[in-house]
């Protein structure tokens, strides 16, 4: 028996590098100029999975829910040593908030059937909510360990981790199955393997309804997969009412583009005199001592 590890990965717009033209003149977001990237902390989660596989053995399945072009990050997973990948994609998932997202992902994980560890990134940079991980854990009815900055010890029945908290850290231990959310303190993710990148270069998706039977779970880890599994609402047995917009209790009432009103900023000349005057003014007003 070896560990079954599931890693949840998400493709996100690169919100950390938003440039001026991200907003269209009409105030809407110009998604086209934002490149889609692998959510950074999901790479940290993936790295921990690969490290566990390398030390005690295991099989890693990466799952993403997203549009068809999210296969891009699944290929990235394969290039780094993941054994199997699943794209959960369906128009009915559109407009999902974190609750509807975690419901769909829970259904996908249950289709994989057997799992010991579920690894997520701490948060996705598109919204920084950090909600989906704990919500998946609740829906699977398993324990959760969040903000994991180090996996201290892992064996086939339990895991000990270091968790970062505001004023220090704590060491926690849990039996499996358990869900972890991993932070960027945990590791420096590896780069893709050239050999695997060549092997999986042309792999593409295929809608499949097959479930993970015992045969799959026992199959050799070194057998390369030949296609990316694609699942939809029906194939994960999800209730469409609980997916997408209809399954989302939160609604966006309005979005406003940020308009800064010109303030009464006092221009200080960048000269010795200009700056000396500012410092004297602030001193007189007891702003600086």
């Amino acid at each position: 028996m070896s560990l079954q590890i599931i890693v949840m990965v998400k493709q996100v717009p690169d919100t950390h590098n938003v440039s001026g033209d991200a907003m269209k003149p009409d105030g809407t977001v110009n998604r086209a100029v934002l490149p889609a990237i692998f959510n950074p902390e999901d790479l940290n989660a993936l790295e921990e999975a690969i490290k566990i596989k390398e030390t005690i053995g295991g099989k890693i399945t990466a799952i993403t829910m997203g549009p068809p072009n999210a296969v891009k990050i699944l290929k990235e997973c394969l290039y780094r040593g993941v054994d199997d990948v699943v794209l959960v994609s369906d128009r009915k998932f559109a407009g999902a908030d974190t609750l509807a997202t975690s419901y769909a992902l829970k259904c996908a994980i249950e289709k994989v059937e057997k799992y010991d560890l579920v690894l997520c990134g701490r948060q996705a940079i598109d919204g920084d909510t950090a909600q989906v991980g704990p919500q998946i854990a609740e829906k699977l009815n398993i324990n959760q360990l969040t903000c994991v900055s180090e996996i201290v010890e892992v064996n086939e029945t339990d895991i000990t981790i270091k968790r970062s908290i505001e004023n220090g850290h704590e060491f926690l231990k849990s039996n499996m199955p358990v869900l972890l959310t991993v932070t960027n303190e945990a590791n420096e993710p590896r780069t893709p393997s050239a050999k695997l990148a060549v092997a999986y270069k042309n792999i593409s998706g295929k809608t499949s309804d097959e479930s993970y039977d015992d045969e799959y779970l026992e199959s050799g880890i070194d057998d390369p997969i030949s296609y990316i599994k694609e699942w939809n609402v029906e194939s994960i047995n999800a209730d469409p009412q609980l997916c997408g917009l209809s399954g989302s209790p939160t609604k966006v009432k309005k979005v406003q583009s940020v308009v800064l009103t010109a303030s009464d900023v006092k221009q200080i000349q960048n000269t010795d005199e200009g700056i000396a005057e500012l410092i004297n003014e602030l001193t007189e007003e007891h702003i600086i001592g």
């Binding site: 919100t15 926690l172 231990k173 849990s174 009432k253 700056i275 702003i287």
Partner: protein, 337 residues
């Protein structure tokens, strides 16, 4: 005795002391409760906290539901989540607020998932207002306001049909009210309905580390952005902070690049600060950064781009190279009349 439909705050404690963020949320929750004409309640979980929770009354809390159990003395996810869910089901608040701390962000989503209710993370503002969806009008619903999408937009999120609506808010975002020590809170003990099997996490050790910087109480903060993220720039920022007797802050990309510790991050996902003086060195002024410092009494912006958004909220703007300007400031301070 409290009634249904209250506003409720989850009380966080560190070593049995009520966390600042919880007092801030009680202060804010009180305003929302007054607007709605309902009670402001709290839920406190832990061991031997009777004395500590008395302070909640000073900030306007009416009733605290208190679960006392030795097994709950330290936070772990499943027992806390289950306990909060039980309290919410029993008392049916319409709004529940959590600190956006490692504890709050761990437990709130788990509670929201179990109750199938809406949860909005990292709100920077909370209001009570109206929401119209087709022909339906929801009056007095919680408007949860937060920046989104790289800070180019501010979104107002509602969960009008969700009972309750839940939100997390970072420490420092809401102002703590002036305590009124004559006001008392009613303490209502609640049974702990947990089984030993709910305690799925074993706490092996907790290590408390002293913070190496206390931005929240600093009077002067000199902050480095990407425009000051060179070795020389960062040295000068530190030197200026030292000279003025202030602390060093930073924007998120500077923290992410690893050259300065996370304790220094100012902004939506860092700290919210209100110093007397905030000097933004090479910071563009994206909304997530502004969310953490816009309420400083005086803001000096230093940037070589005259169109940088930071100038729109600054009181003093200096256009030019950050190294140049900091050197001039240090010189002027030392030579001041």
């Amino acid at each position: 005795m409290s009634a249904k439909n209250s506003v409720m705050v989850f009380i966080e404690q560190n070593n049995s002391k009520v966390a600042d963020v919880s007092l801030e949320l009680v202060s804010e929750g009180k305003k929302l409760a007054d607007k709605l004409g309902v009670a402001l309640d709290a839920v406190a979980i832990g061991y031997n906290l009777e004395k500590e929770v008395e302070v909640l009354g000073h900030y306007g809390c009416n009733t605290v539901f208190y679960i006392n159990d030795e097994r709950l003395s330290h936070f772990t996810s499943v027992p806390y989540a289950k306990t909060i869910v039980e309290i919410i089901k029993k008392h049916e608040p319409q709004i529940v607020l959590f600190g956006a701390t490692t504890t709050g962000r761990d437990v709130a989503p788990r509670v929201a998932s179990e109750l199938k209710c809406g949860l909005t993370a990292d709100c920077t503002e909370l209001q009570i207002g109206e929401y119209k969806l087709k022909s339906k009008v929801y009056k007095n619903t919680l408007l949860q306001i937060r920046p989104a999408f790289g800070g180019n937009i501010v979104a107002t999120i509602v969960s009008p049909e969700s009972m309750p609506s839940m939100a997390t808010v970072r420490e420092g975002v809401m102002k703590m009210a002036e305590p009124d020590t004559s006001k008392e809170v009613e303490l209502v003990s609640e049974k702990c309905g947990l089984d030993d099997s709910d305690f799925m996490t074993e706490v092996i050790e907790v290590m408390i580390e002293e913070k190496n910087v206390d931005l929240k109480s600093a009077n002067i903060i000199v902050s480095a952005g990407m425009g000051a993220a060179t070795p020389e720039g960062l040295e000068l920022v530190k030197k200026l902070a030292n000279t003025l007797g202030g602390e060093v802050g930073a924007s998120r990309p500077v923290v992410d690049s690893g050259i300065i510790d996370r304790d220094h991050q100012v902004g939506q996902t860092g700290l919210t600060v209100r110093p007397n003086l905030y000097i933004a060195c090479g910071i563009s002024g994206q909304i997530q950064h502004r969310a953490g410092m816009a309420e400083a009494k005086r803001i000096i912006a230093i940037n070589n781009d005259p169109d940088a958004p930071i100038f729109n909220i600054a009181h003093y703007g200096i256009v030019g190279d950050v190294n140049d300007i900091i050197n001039r400031m240090i010189k002027a301070y030392k030579a001041r009349a």
